[in-house]
Symmetry: C2
Subunit: 217 residues, 2 copies
Amino acid sequence: MSDGAGSPVAAGRGRRPARARGDDRELQILATAERLLEERPLGAISVDDLARGAGISRPTFYFYFTSKDAVLLTLLDRVVAEADATMSAVFDGGASTGPREGWQRALAAYHETFRRHRALTVAWAEARSTSAEVRALWAEVFERWVQRCATAIEAERARGAAPSGPPARDLAIALTSMNERVIYASLSGDGPAIAADDVVPVLLRVWLTAVYGTPPD
Amino acid sequence: MSDGAGSPVAAGRGRRPARARGDDRELQILATAERLLEERPLGAISVDDLARGAGISRPTFYFYFTSKDAVLLTLLDRVVAEADATMSAVFDGGASTGPREGWQRALAAYHETFRRHRALTVAWAEARSTSAEVRALWAEVFERWVQRCATAIEAERARGAAPSGPPARDLAIALTSMNERVIYASLSGDGPAIAADDVVPVLLRVWLTAVYGTPPD
DNA sequence: GAACGAGTCAACAGGGTGTCGAGTTACGGC
DNA sequence: GCCGTAACTCGACACCCTGTTGACTCGTTC
């Protein structure tokens, strides 16, 4: 809650301010978490598991992180940074190609980012139900994506390339929700899912028809 | 796991076979769960809370249900039955109206069913990450809906009303995923969401354009 | 070489789950 | 009217997990 403005590199999210040689331990904890998440869900990983994996006792773990969730949040910072960077590259850089290619690249980049961090993405979605902070982080990322897309949709409408329809923001929320859920299902493996290679084509098709009425080609 | 074929009314999902006057208690437990779910998430409700609410001790709770999840699953049986019934009514009964009205009614019914059981729906989604049985139940319902929709899409394609495109099943999965996530977000209230009254119109628009290329009107 | 702060952990407090075994009650048969 | 049986009940236990406390070690610094 008290995010003072004085911290050097922003000792964020329940991570205590970094100490001299404690950096090692911190990294070991993070590495352990990432490794264990490949094997089993976050709920099946205890603080003790993380501590042992880093070669320390459980109380010592609390010297570095305030909770298991704080570890996940720290790990997620990387994914979020990467997602945001890719998003900017796609949206800001690509005005040269046609609209179809623009959306295609945006969707592919989005999918690729989360696919590359499969275990973390799945853990992220799972932890949303138990941690308000995780939920908030998700909402933040979601909101940024929605805003980018809504703006792009409005731009297409303004230049007459897309017909009017539901509020651009509502459309963006619906389509982004679809992305999120479809990608999660394809990564987590439980329940009916679209095969990994078909995810982007199918999503793209729905996006294009929803935005342009009929797919431009 | 051992679902013997001999039980009279199918003593399902961790619910022990019903006894003479224990039926009362069972109902009291279920009622308590439903009431508490209106106030707080499943994770914040203990077995003790359920037991006290039903006027029994914690060990006695285990006489009636094998776990907290079993209670949720029993509660969800109602919702699932209702969802399935509505689904059948919409898909089997409504060949008289136009395609637009057909999809509209299906979406509205789907939305209405889950909106009417807001707390249970939210709990259902939350418990998916912690209980394999809950996950399986969700996958079942999802799969039935996907199959209905895929069949309907194929029918529209066969009669020339809808253009070809991605496999009908993939399209149905993507669109159903959107429904699920959008409705959950609008019910749970965390993160960006579409206003309750706008959910069906927006979803409908995306469905129609995705299936028909351009909305028929 | 005293003082300090980083780093460490045994022991504790507290809350949750699920089980076991010893009750208590209700009721049908003898 | 008493007895056995099965439904029903719960105190006490074993266990697992979280997060905190207080004392201890060690390197650095003056």
